[in-house]
Symmetry: C2
């Protein structure tokens, strides 16, 4: 289960960087390859680290601080690829929203790096 | 590129089964493991083949026939895991909608099987 534990730690680090609005930490967590992909809720899919990094920069500038409570966290490892699905229960000021998230990581040199994030608002949640 | 070609063929077969509303074909395409996950637009994430299969059954009963035109298709293979991101340009009757999709597959015995589907409506598209 060490594989899954490490993967879950990488997933937790992603949300810690998101909460802290820490672009340097986000940059450490993501792979910087051209094939990385990020789909924010309601957005078209962004591809490549340049576009993905720009989106985090914009989100961190524009939005109120957010707190994430993760529920229904499920992780699976297949070779050097691992993915986590979870519910992001978001609190931002007086707003609450649940986002269903998929996060995929690739392990290189013993470190899991994020290669794909997909979030979508859960209607009625 | 044979890996990617096979992966793209599996992705195309998924959309062919979706268009045809063919539950048997969908069952062939998906892995039947407990860890498979499916997030339809606006839905909470479903986990395990039983829950995922039930959702396709319900969608195939209830909805008008849909046509998919896929654009911005990008595929990546890492060992025996491959994933495809694409835009599903959906035509259903007089309705049109773009859904950003992530599809992840695991290769076993030379066959790519779907283990994760995540779709989210693109706002304003």
């Amino acid at each position: 289960m060490a594989d899954v534990d490490d993967l879950l730690a990488a997933n937790a680090a992603f949300y810690a960087a998101f909460e802290a609005r820490d672009l340097d930490a986000m940059s450490e967590i993501w792979s910087h390859e051209d094939h990385v992909a990020c789909t924010h809720p309601g957005w078209a899919t962004l591809r490549g680290w340049g576009a993905v990094a720009s989106s985090w920069f914009a989100l961190f500038q524009g939005e109120a601080a957010m707190q994430f409570i993760l529920t229904a966290v499920a992780a699976h490892v297949e070779g050097d690829v691992g993915w986590v699905t979870c519910d992001e229960n978001l609190l931002a000021g007086s707003q609450a929203q649940t986002v269903a998230a998929t996060n995929a990581f690739v392990r290189a040199g013993g470190t899991w790096r994020l290669v794909l994030h997909h979030g979508s608002a859960v209607v009625g949640a």
